[in-house]
């Protein structure tokens, strides 16, 4: 049983990491698109951010020094990531459900980190972890684990309820959407039950991670706990394969699209990329485009099929 649990944990983590990285890579290597920003752009001059202005508000803007205000971006990004600010502002009803769900997941991710630290420290310095530091750490990850799990489950139930009862959402809800939320609930529910219903001799969560790190095949993992871990590992592997990987997508929608106001200067890296794209050979079929798979975008854009034609 322990080997199965280790394998599931390892595979789940690996698939999560690889699939997330692959998705990020897919977006990152996409061509630089035409500009499509939306204001306000928070890395602008703070005076401009107040009203959503851009450098286009300055006379002879190309002669001025450009602003890149990282603090401004962080002021928007951090509350957005942690507290789902946009949802709170524009869809409060859903935020009451979505925020606990997401915040619960963040806390659970933090809990996993703490458990991992405790496991490694327990192996490296058992005496230290047997002392007050170990006790404090145990308290922290227990409290965060309980809080995270409770928030995530309450949020997931709220989201599921809303998805199934709100007429505005129902039209767009697929079987997969319902399954996704149920998957969270079942995986977290079984894991919670597995942890709570352990017998006195069963390994702790930290001991389990230590077992994984030392590949201790003698560890006896109770069935319910093993099922919870396997389900959570499957969930971790599943998330980046679905739209729920929006934690990756969102980075790009914000940084590469909404906030990408980077100017194409002569001789810049952007210009070099554009010059490459202009050699692509499209094959759109409409006659006015004049694309035959041989002509490049540059050919097409610099050809005026109607020049000299009579009105």
């Amino acid at each position: 049983m322990s080997v199965l649990v280790y394998l599931a944990l390892g595979a789940g983590t690996a698939v999560f990491a690889v699939a997330t990285a692959a998705r990020a890579w897919m977006y990152a290597r996409a061509p630089i698109h035409l500009r499509w920003e939306l204001y306000p752009v928070p890395h602008e001059d703070p005076e401009k951010v107040k009203h959503g202005g851009s450098y286009f508000e300055d006379k002879d803007w190309w002669t001025r020094k450009r602003h890149y205000n990282l603090a401004g971006e962080l002021r928007v990004m951090v509350p957005e990531m942690l507290f789902l600010k946009a949802l709170r502002e524009f869809n409060r009803k859903l935020w009451y459900r979505s925020f606990p769900f997401h915040f619960g997941l963040y806390i659970l991710a933090g809990t996993c980190g703490l458990v991992f630290v405790a496991a490694v420290a327990g192996l490296a310095a058992p005496a230290l972890m047997a002392g007050p530091l170990g006790t404090i750490l145990q308290w922290v990850y227990t409290v965060s684990g309980v809080a995270g799990m409770a928030l995530a489950m309450v949020g997931a139930v709220g989201l599921l309820h809303r998805r199934l009862t709100d007429a505005d959402l129902k039209t767009y809800t697929t079987a997969g959407d319902v399954f996704n939320l149920l998957f969270f609930l079942v995986a977290f529910g079984v894991l919670t039950a597995g942890i709570l219903l352990r017998s006195p001799g069963d390994p702790s969560v930290v001991a389990l991670v230590q077992g994984l790190l030392t590949f201790d095949r003698t560890l006896q993992v109770p069935g319910l706990l093993a099922a919870g871990i396997v389900l959570c590992a499957l969930l971790a592997a599943y998330i980046p394969l679905t739209h729920m990987s929006h934690f990756v997508g969102k980075y790009f929608t914000y940084h590469d699209v909404r906030w990408n106001d980077q100017v194409n200067l002569r001789g810049s890296a952007i210009e070099a990329k554009l010059t490459e794209y202009l050699t692509y050979r499209p094959n759109w079929s409409a006659a006015h485009v004049g694309a035959d798979g041989k002509r490049t975008w540059a050919d097409i854009a610099t050809t005026n099929p109607w020049e000299g034609a009579k009105k």
Binding site: M26, Y27, I32, H33, R35, W36, E37, L38, Y39, K48, H51, G52, G53, S54, F56, E57, D60, W61, L84, A86, L87, E89, N91, S98, A167, T171, Y172, T173, T174, A175, G176, T242, H243, H246, G249, K250, F252, T253, V257, N264, R266, E271, L274, Y277, Y280, N283, W284, S285, A286, H288, A291, W297, I300, A301, T302, T303, N304, W306, E307, K311
Partner: protein
Amino acid sequence: MKDRIKLTDMSRQDRKPLTHLENEDLMPLPYPLDSPEKDHAWAILSEKVTGSVECGLDDTCAINIPQPKTKEEEDELVRKFLAGLDKLFTRENNWTFLQPLVLSMEHCAKCQTCSQACHIFEASGNDELYRPTFRSELVRRLYFKSVKHGGALSAWQHGDIEINWPLVARLAELAYRCNLCRRCAQTCPIGADNGLVAHELRKLFSQELGINAKECHDNGSVLQLKVGSSTGMSSLVVKDNIEFIDEDMMDRTGIKVETPWDVEGADVLLIHNAGEILAWPENPGAFALVLSAAGIKWTLSSELAGYDSINYGLWYDDAQFARVAIKHAQAAKKLGVKKIVLGECGHAHKALSVIADRVLTGDLNIPRESSMTLLRDIVMNGRLTLDPSRNAFPVTLHDPCNLVRLMGVVEPQREIVRKICPEFREMEPHGVDNYCCGGGSGFAIMSGNNFQDWRFHVSGRKKMEQVLNAFADCMDPSINKYICAPCSNCKGQFRDMLAYYDLWNKNRILYGGLVELIVNCMVDAKPGFIDWEWH
């Protein structure tokens, strides 16, 4: 209560419209448009139209797709549509928007946060067909099914869709029920963009099937590339008209104006939306007067497209967009000007300043600037002697989406209006949170069949509400009121809406540009430049 439209209804085989709106269904308007029964009845599509073109979506028809005669024709059109859909997701064909499109396909959480931000959805009385995600969700299902070759598992996860000609025909129309204002995208917690999806759908139809709005293509970008302007004016005609405008300016202001043409090495190449020259000649006239009075070394260009800043490709076709943008840059390059300044036209601003920024390379990459900043510089630095008391009437400012939300030019025009209009009041919301005038993305020039009825009742409704609220304290017809709309397309929409609801005659609400307000309060000019009786 009406039945809620389902996504699957889009594939319905009959040609009956999926929805029908009555005035009572629509978002209520404030006084004096507060009784739906007194509102105009909608014109009904003629049997000739319903029997010959595809209009199975709603009460109107924007792009007149001829009905296929045979099943084979239908199948061929569907095949082409799917081929075009594939192309939208390839680098070679769509490097221009591939990344944002894929992101919007992959990550929508279907939370519907964006819905309430959309003026069309709200004005329609929350009709499901006009929900921002309705269109996107259909495209998303097509993406997973056809582009990603999803099987049963994918259909279970992402939802299924029956692909047939009625779906494709309805989607083509539905792409023209969005102003591309991207207000919805601003509220999306994920950053998905339903406006972009509509834009890409329009591109697919145009670039693959040659289906587009006649007003934007044949009478728009094609005409511009053929004769120089979508107004049909050749360079000779435009010069004649400008000469006439110069003379008229002299009569009206007492100041001699001579518009310079093709001045090599000028500091500024000013490009107007040529529609101004025909529909609102006082606008280019006022520009000529202000720039000359401020001592700017400026010029107009008589090159092909060099005297018309419009670029309708922005709304439906990348190839047409790039061709026109290059023509604009070539006109500037030929004259060797220091910069291009865009007149009062929102989409032209965004097209040439923002979008074309990644089309123009090398020596075609000539600096482009907004006339808002240039005018702000002139007004705020005291280069003209102005008397704001001449503008002592209620003024509100419309924010063209392309100029404001999509380009970040928010304050320059406000600084001017605050300085020269003592009774200025904002619409709510305003700035980057503004609502589209309802004419965005080509609607202001589209009037085929009964499209105007839809445009007035639905897409323009929210803006009308804002205008009426802004002037709520002075609706009395004894008080002249002015909507300052520094954009030709928005002005077109205001002109038509105000006329439709007779708001000039009944309540004295006029619209116009920004530069006219400047000339109206120039001490050196004869008083009364704004012509309240002309509308």
